[in-house]
Amino acid sequence: MVEDRSLGGRVFAAVNFTLLALIALITVLPFVHVVAGSFTTSAEIAASKFVLIPKVWSLEAYKFIFSTDTIFKAMGVSIGVTLIGTLFSMFITALMAYGLSRRDLDGRNVVNFLVVFTMLFHGGMIPTFLVVKELGLIDSYAALILPSAISAFNMIILKNFFQNIPEGLEESAKIDGCNDFGILFRIVLPLSMPAIATISLFYAVTYWNTYMSAILYLDDSAKWPIQVLLRQIVVLASGMDHSATLDAAVPPPDQSIKMAVIVVATLPILMVYPFLQKHFAKGAMLGSMKG
């Protein structure tokens, strides 16, 4: 944008900047409030009406939530599912995307169509549940991964990205004696790092945020990932349901403790976000291309 130095242009820019600053503030204030609230005592939250920077710092809430191993366990489940799930999803998504990206593959249009069709029409919750049950996946961690292992959308993004890699590169590798696996892992994937990073982030965030599959497929509360536990503690904790949250003898957790659990459940995303942020703008644009 070329600079507009007229009075009108300056007023416009100033108003625009102020509004955007306000929007950004509204976006982050709730997080700041929750983080601040988690580092203080509930008495302090009750006493001072508005906590953005706590007057009294305290780790009480964190000490409390880590005093039982419930949170540790749930974090362990979530981390495990996220790591294994992301690797697995990336692996089979990349394989399929590469296969379908090759124009000389007979039948690719059929498979392509069948994939796109699943984005337009699906069997729904109950039939999917029944399939998962029939496969014996109920109450297994695999139920959090397998039924959502490939996102058709991510696969198509990746396929489009692969298609844009010059075919000459692949051909010359072939002449050098590389087979298709070699081409994918030694040439195509290294050239696709921005797309891989973006889609890994998408998968990782999805797995970390897994909630629905957990409540559908896990009856055993000992296997709950952090998101389900978070809901138990924050949403249901007003004395409605104590089964398998923290100890049943403990009174409903108060504000600072709820906030601390929210922070713990959000932290991993806040940590990876800055590293991958530069990639995903590019990646999302790839997604908007059609193929």
């Binding site: 944008m1 070329v2 507009d4 242009g9 416009f12 820019a13 625009n16 900047f17 600053a21 929007i23 950004a24 976006t27 709730p30 409030h33 009406k49 508005f50 906590v51 089979i92 394989l95 399929m96 296969g99 379908l100 000389d104 007979d106 249009n109 069948l114 796109v116 699943t118 337009l120 029409f121 699906h122 069997g123 729904g124 919750m125 109950i126 039939p127 999917t128 549940f129 029944l130 399939v131 998962v132 292992a149 490939i150 298709d180 696996f181 970390w208 909630y211 998101q227 809901r231 924050v234 949403v235 007003s238 504000q255 929210i262 459940a265 995303i269 976000y273 644009m285 908007s288 193929g291």
Partner: protein, 322 residues
Amino acid sequence: MQDVTAQPGTVSKLKPKRYKSSSELKKRLWRNKYLYVMLIPGILFFVLFKYLPMYGLIISFQDYKPYQGITGSEWVGMEHFKRLFTEPDFIKILGNTLILFAMNILLYFPVPIILALMLNELRGTFFKRFFQTLVYLPHFMSWVIIVSITYVMVTMDGGIINELLSYFGFEQVNFLLNPGWFRPMYILQIIWREAGWGTIIYLASIAAIDPGLYEAARMDGAGRMRQIWHITLPAIRSVIITLLILKIGSVLDLGFEHVYLMLNSMNRNVAEIIDTYVYTAGLRQGQFSYSTAIGFFKSIIGLIMVMSVNKLSKKMGEEGVY
């Protein structure tokens, strides 16, 4: 879609391909054997978790008993679908679903466009990046986190919103249990979480506009607002329409998690939507066949909506999504 043989004019050139001997086809298939191996896990996934459930839809024509399975259960024809349209509960949840959908289109959909236009007018890439980083962030939070943050903020048990209300002399409001607050909270949460992320595609297509157009407009004395109105908006028109199609296609797909998390016994009348109802009626109360019929109905409406809106947009001279 990209089948070259479909292009007129190239047919004659490619014709020999059709008459290729089967041995040649076999050779080609064999040459690509590793590619087919690569497709196996993916195809297996789609067959097991996408197409098998589609086959499972037939239980909506049965009186499905888990122990008898699909092959052993009794056929009841259209009974469940008939029940769907006579059941007052269903009419209510369909209404709730449509109202939330309308709010999505009217109140949420324009926000990312406006936000993208505003971000685009920012000078200096530093601020642009900075704002983008902040407004993208909530998109990565799960609904559980967003709803949890809402809970601790609006609770009457010392939540900041209610504290502020009483500080300024207003009465405290039980936002979570008051049915009147469900819809406003629902849409605000969506805007808060998704508006920033929604700008990405708009910003990308704005960036592709020829800067010469703006220069010419300035020569003609157009101010910022006029440039936005006459250049930027028309240039991103097709992107807007494409995204609108996608949105309309998901008419009954409002997201199970979000609504389920906000749902409670007090706001059920306005908050119960098709997805949450399928879950409660199906998995909680064991009415597998009936709730599958509801899900089936939802999927068909979705499919019809996407196809018709897509057709409409093609008629209007736009590209459509497929």
